[in-house]
């Protein structure tokens, strides 16, 4: 009994010290849910885009998420956080979407296409007709690189897009674009976040293929 107690204490001591002192535990924030962004994001006019998600571990998984923080007045940052299973799974369809937005007056947590915070805001751009006569959103010169950072590619939102987005927000529903262009199944997201959608990351390998590849590589 004494030895069992001593062994248990040793395990507790190891876990405690590893948690407190291990360098891998220092510097990575834990994100309970989207509301915890408020503590991490200080700059106003910021939008937080989920760029990547990954799980490590054998029996007990640790979930990591990578975010791109785009701010109207600060440089672009990348943020890697640890999170829980429920939040990580819930956000897989929201890859490439803005999951948190902070303006001067309010915070929003409903997943929306990236850059929705800046639409219809004259500080960042204006609605302007293009060569075909369609009215599209155009960022001002200071923010001309935003479409690239936001993962828009050649896409530019029009007024209808904006109205549908606001309607979705008023119903507290996530918005993936009029034709589901954004998110996990969205064409625009798949094109502009290629790292997450790499074929080798998404494919599920069966045991036979795994063994064949192993023997080919090693013998």
């Amino acid at each position: 009994m004494y030895k069992f107690f001593l062994y248990s204490m040793l395990i507790i001591l190891y876990l405690g010290l590893a948690k407190a002192l291990s360098p891998s535990e220092i510097g990575v924030h834990y994100l309970q849910n989207e509301r915890a962004f408020a503590k991490l994001i200080k700059s106003p006019s910021s939008t937080v885009i989920l760029v990547d998600t990954h799980a490590t571990g054998f029996l007990i998984k640790t979930y990591y998420q990578k975010y791109r923080i785009i701010s109207g007045f600060d440089s672009i940052e990348e943020l890697i956080v640890r999170t829980n299973k429920e939040f990580a799974k819930r956000n897989i369809p929201n890859i490439g979407l803005s999951v948190y937005r902070k303006s001067d007056t309010k915070e929003e947590f409903i997943p929306l296409p990236p850059g929705s915070l800046y639409l219809n805001n004259p500080e960042f751009g204006e609605w302007k007709p293009n060569k075909k006569g369609q009215i599209k959103w155009r960022f001002s010169k200071s923010y001309k690189n935003f479409p690239k950072y936001l993962g828009w590619g050649n896409f530019r939102p029009d007024l209808e897009f904006y109205q549908q987005m606001r309607a979705s927000v008023s119903q507290l529903k996530p918005f993936y674009g009029p034709n589901n262009e954004f998110g996990f199944d969205g064409e625009i997201t798949r094109k502009n976040f290629p790292h997450f959608f790499k074929e080798e990351r998404l494919k599920k390998v069966d045991l036979k293929t795994l063994l064949v590849e192993y023997f080919q590589e090693n013998f």
Binding site: I11, L21, H54, T56
Partner: protein, 300 residues
């Protein structure tokens, strides 16, 4: 040809210099063991006292192990190389003998060198000393290699190593069924093989804990501490597992405790326990050091 001959000459000179350093070590040994002055400084007769011969020459093996960690850099010149070897060789000798003195003071706190080796010719004591000499040498070598010619880091790591070894040698009483003090007085060889296996195993584990890349001394010391505690967690699993896989029979009649006592004091039991300790320790180093968990960065 001239270049090859030059290199050979240089090797011969360096070999002679190493011999000179070992000659100096012979006198340094007397500082820590003043009672052996008579034996060390005159011609040694191995047949006279085998225990003393084993005790003395085990230290010679140890110092050879440590010297093997010091390298010569010919590009910086022969004189500087020799000076470098002389400085670090002297530091190694001092640290090694000091470590042995401290560890043996902890383990043999009830025993005296003069009584056990010179008077009683206790081979068990001498064999345990041999194991200490080899393990301490191996650990001092590891620490010297990790210090990378920094004296401050060497002193910090050496002290740290000494603390861990000090604690680990006391661990023997928790995991062995043999009574250390009683059996050592009886010159029991079962104890020396069991304890020898334990010490060598502990040496493997501690050396593997120290053997890792380091950029920051604080982080390095934390990692060593964590690995040491992890080894303490893993080792009993192998110990219990090996005992379960290879069960032994102690005594013909289990009703009589005396039979069991006699069997445990046999050489066979000493080999058995010593082998379990070494095997368990080597497997522990595998679990602690050889599992690569990777990082999240290839994905992110």
């Amino acid at each position: 040809m001239a270049e090859i001959f030059d290199r050979l000459l240089m090797r011969l000179i360096l070999a002679a210099f190493v011999c000179l350093m070992i000659y100096l070590y012979r006198y340094a040994h007397v500082i820590f063991y003043p009672t052996v002055k008579r034996q060390v400084l005159k011609t040694i007769n191995p047949a006279e006292n085998p225990a003393d011969t084993l005790h003395l020459f085990s230290r010679l093996v140890g110092i050879a192990i440590i010297f093997s960690s010091i390298s010569f850099n010919e590009s910086s010149g022969v004189v500087l190389s020799l000076f470098h070897f002389a400085v670090w060789g002297t530091i190694a000798i001092v640290l090694y003998l000091l470590s042995l003195y401290i560890i043996e003071s902890i383990v043999f706190y009830n025993f005296d060198y003069t009584d056990e080796i010179l008077k009683r010719r206790n081979m068990s004591y001498a064999f345990i000393s041999l194991c200490h000499a080899i393990v301490i040498a191996y650990l001092t070598r590891t620490v010297m290699m990790e210090a990378e010619n920094s004296l401050v880091i060497l002193l910090v790591l050496w002290l740290y190593m000494l603390v861990i070894v000090g604690f680990s040698v006391k661990y023997f009483t928790y995991i062995s069924k043999l009574s250390f003090n009683r059996l050592l007085i009886q010159k029991n060889l079962s104890l020396c093989f069991a304890y020898g296996g334990f010490t060598l195993g502990a040496g493997f584990v501690i050396a593997s804990c120290f053997d890792q890349e380091h950029y920051d001394i604080t982080v390095y010391c934390i990692q060593v501490l964590l690995k040491t505690i992890l080894s303490l967690i893993i080792f009993p699993i192998f110990k219990k597992g090996l005992v379960y896989i290879f069960p032994i029979k102690l005594g013909e009649d289990r009703g009589h405790e005396g039979h069991i006592e006699t069997d445990m004091q046999s050489l066979g039991y000493g080999f058995y326990e010593g082998s379990l300790f070494i095997a368990g320790a080597i497997l522990t180093t595998m679990i602690v050091n050889r599992i690569q968990f990777g990082t999240i960065y290839p994905f992110f």
